[in-house]
Homo-oligomer: 526 residues x 2
């Protein structure tokens, strides 16, 4: 067991501090400090983190920063940015930040400067997106493209999907759809009513072997070929992939393949050519602004002192709650319908990165790691699971996300949204400890952050997404995890191949699974 | 503290039994029992519960059933069915089961038989849905209705939304849309491209005062009136509500108001006229089949011996995991794209019902109650948070939901779906405890159920939904909770009214919230 971390002086000081604070209710901490709102907020170019509703005092932040220093956060951060192979299990650099870098500093990977390739890919995406949007690129029958179907799963789906939904007011290009699930209904219901002659498929798979993506791509290809013939494939399919041979076999021309690199993980890949569907929806200039927002957060993360560094503070608050307050879940509640996919996006980003129990040194972690991430839009959740958040027997921490500017000209709706968000945070924190009816008692003491965007535009979305990327990195450093692999997805794939292949199972476990599969499939024969 | 339950002999026997089983890994329990698959499955008319992958032996089930008996489950069940006021805080009967009852037994509430009203409402829904679908009901300019917009939130949204999505292959009527959020984007993006002359709004709010619903209804009304004038309102708006005065003021004719009753809770209301949008989408006959499926589950729940009673066993397995194995969350993973809203539906149904810490006797519960419910569709989640499910530092229990019949004629997609589902369940249970690489170790020991539907049609969906309704009831009985109120949503509403009204705050807490609201709203002025 990797128990070093929990035996350090700083960790023990944090435990002692936690015990000291235990007697204090959250409302006493919040109301007891003058200028609490000012002290507990950080702002960067129109994105603010407001953490007043946490069980923290200035001393807590001080101790947490010491923990980060002890775990050599700044050095490890710099290692990531300069291209060291911080993804140790896969022996890879982690350079999604290079995809949005504004300077001309070389990006060295294995002795080679990747910046020319990065720039060339960005220009290729911009050129192609422009051609489709301007009607320069035409379908096989000479018609312009009106619908784009992005076929990908996981990181090849959730990031682009979120960005396209969130920036819907900036979308004046073709309508972009997303298909991910192996269930054929996902693709078939998307294709319903689309004209093959005006539909473009973007197939996103680094290896071009992802089972779900290939199933969907093949079924989409049949749909297109049935309408327009084999030759049409090259005008209606492009790919983001490194497997040029497989892509060519599929019928996509080399010049219509966009690159990926092994130093960009799937869940961090929307900034690469995986963002092609974003550029198709909102245009290359807006896609650039999205990257610029992320770059501004990168610069802040690289240079701001730890106690005023937004991703660092957000991460340390999470560690405080996870490891010292024993809170095992975070609710993520965007009070903004266009951010409805943010909880799902963050589920992948966070749970796939830090949902691990083995340290970078190969030992079992002796402490809790990444929490459950779940959530839904406010105010919808208020009429659903918020009952549980307020009065359930478990305390979770909440991240609210709000938008200050009303860009829909519906002040009454907008004021309701923001009021409810603050009111929920207040109710979580303060509770209602006196009432004649027992069922109207709220224990309170439930911590939350409010993240506030000045407005929902590409730049501010870029700030928000990079904030969470770096938050997760910081937590991975403190927990000594490799946040950049995902070994836990392999076993299920292997077992599924065994079931699908129909070969005789070897071993008791495989035989049991085969029996289970047969039994529940057989139900349909009755 | 209400500690009676945990001091009973049966509870202590369960604790002791848990300790005895602790030494056994799940795989040993699963593989050690002959006919495990047969023993650990229950089936009712094409819906099966397969619970082989739980840390249970026949003795566990026996002890859990004793717990249910001790808590007088059967008597309390019968009280609910016969209309006793089991919603004690609100002094109301709980009779959603009466809405789908097939017999002519009287449904007595306060000495009055409600069956005639129930039947009349069902017929009114059927008649209206038929008229709209057949083009008998026309818009103000004489055109048939092509789009229906259901405006409601919580139970007036999630149930109908799930049913309409799940039964999409049965939908040949007008296209039904759902708008819930106070965020104007929800409504505005739905209305985009719709023709007012062919759009019907169904406003669902028992009190007709639900803030979000009224905001959306008023904005929708403005949109309609701007195009077609005031007089068109009566041909384009109908309501499901008990507040006839408010509905009439809005401009809806009395004859176009559908009833609700205070003995049907919002989250159990899709079987009532709240299901009007379902009937509009799939037709009254299919809506009836949905109700018939639920009625079959009701009958099973009322009559089957506890150890073979599907909702009872499902509930007791959950109690075993929550209270004896200390598992605080359940992942709900439908391997079916049309059931993508099922996790959100269940979040409300379960977390709003049992997310409480005060017993029916008004004491603080001395034991854990309802868990976190979260999830997403397989196979999508496999490329996201399943990493955490397999290797995270917390163990959760999983409910898989699969469909046996491929109704899309895409056998390759369908086989992949079912194979992956069984493979994930196997990987959770068995893990992979030997590997040369530490990151490839899976601890296993993660319990799951597989619920399998013969096919995804109205009848089987009805079975599934009623299964979970009754599961939650059973858990509420054992935990001695009132599963039918939602007192925890009131405080936030009250605080939000204070912020929205703009009146001077009274008290430190209100002043702090006002300052917070002002501060984060001000960000937009920069």
């Amino acid at each position: 067991m990797a128990a070093r971390l929990t035996q350090t002086v700083v960790w023990r000081n944090l435990e002692q501090h936690r015990d000291e604070l235990k007697a204090m209710r959250l409302q006493d901490i919040v109301l007891g400090e003058a200028k609490r709102l000012e002290t507990c907020s950080l702002e960067l170019e129109g994105l603010s983190l407001n953490y007043a509703f946490n069980h923290v005092t200035p001393k807590t932040i001080d101790l947490l920063v010491k923990l980060a220093e002890q775990e050599k956060l700044e050095g490890k951060r710099d290692q990531m940015f300069r291209g060291d192979k911080v993804n140790v299990t896969e022996n890879r650099a982690v350079l999604h930040t290079a995809l949005r870098q504004k300077t001309n500093h070389p990006v060295m990977v294995d002795g080679k400067d990747m910046l020319p390739e990065i720039k060339a890919a960005r220009e290729k995406v911009a050129k192609f997106a422009g051609d489709v949007r301007d009607g320069v690129w035409l379908g096989a029958t000479g018609k312009p493209i009106k619908h784009v179907v992005n076929i990908g799963i996981g990181g090849s789906d959730l990031g682009p999907r979120l960005a396209v939904e969130a920036l819907a007011l900036h979308a004046i290009g073709p309508k972009v759809h997303f298909v991910a699930n192996a269930d054929a209904y996902d693709l078939l219901s998307t294709l319903k009513g689309l004209d093959p002659a005006q539909t473009l498929f973007v197939v996103v798979s680094k290896t071009f072997t992802t089972q779900e993506t290939l199933l969907n791509a093949q079924t989409a290809r049949q749909w297109l070929v049935a309408a327009l013939g084999e030759k049409a494939v090259q005008k209606h399919f492009v790919a983001v992939s490194t497997n040029q041979a497989a892509v060519e076999t599929f019928g996509i021309k080399m010049e219509n393949v966009f690159p990926m690199w092994d130093w960009v993980g799937g869940r961090f890949s929307l900034w690469s050519a995986v963002g092609l569907s974003i550029a198709l929806a909102i245009g290359a200039d807006n896609f650039q602004k999205l990257c610029d927002g992320a770059a501004a957060m990168d610069e802040h993360f690289r240079t701001a002192p730890l106690a005023y560094n937004m991703p660092v503070v957000l991460a340390l608050l999470g560690i405080w709650q996870r490891n010292f307050q024993n809170i095992s879940a975070r609710a993520v509640l965007p009070y903004c319908e266009r951010l409805r996919s943010f909880p799902r996006f963050l589920q992948q980003l966070d749970m796939e990165s830090n949902g691990k129990s083995v340290t970078r040194d190969g030992e079992a972690a002796a402490y809790a790691t990444g929490p459950i991430i779940f959530g839904d839009c406010g105010t919808v959740g208020q009429h659903s699971f918020h009952q549980w958040l307020h009065q359930g027997s478990e305390i979770v921490a909440t991240d609210f996300i709000g938008v200050a500017e009303d860009d829909l000209n519906h002040a009454d709706h907008h004021r309701a949204l923001v009021s409810h968000m603050v009111a929920q945070a207040g109710a979580f924190a303060f509770g209602q400890t006196e009432s004649t009816k027992p069922e109207d008692i709220y224990a309170g003491n439930r911590p939350s952050n409010i993240l506030m965007l000045l407005r929902l535009d590409p730049y501010h979305l870029g700030l928000l997404l990079a904030l969470f990327e770096h938050k997760i990195f910081v937590q991975g450093v403190v927990w000594n995890l490799n946040s950049f692999d995902q070994p836990g997805v392999e076993l299920g794939k292997k077992l599924a191949r065994g079931l699908e292949s129909g070969t005789a199972p070897s071993g008791d476990q495989a035989a049991f699974l085969k029996g289970f599969f047969t039994r529940i499939s057989r139900i349909s024969k009755k």
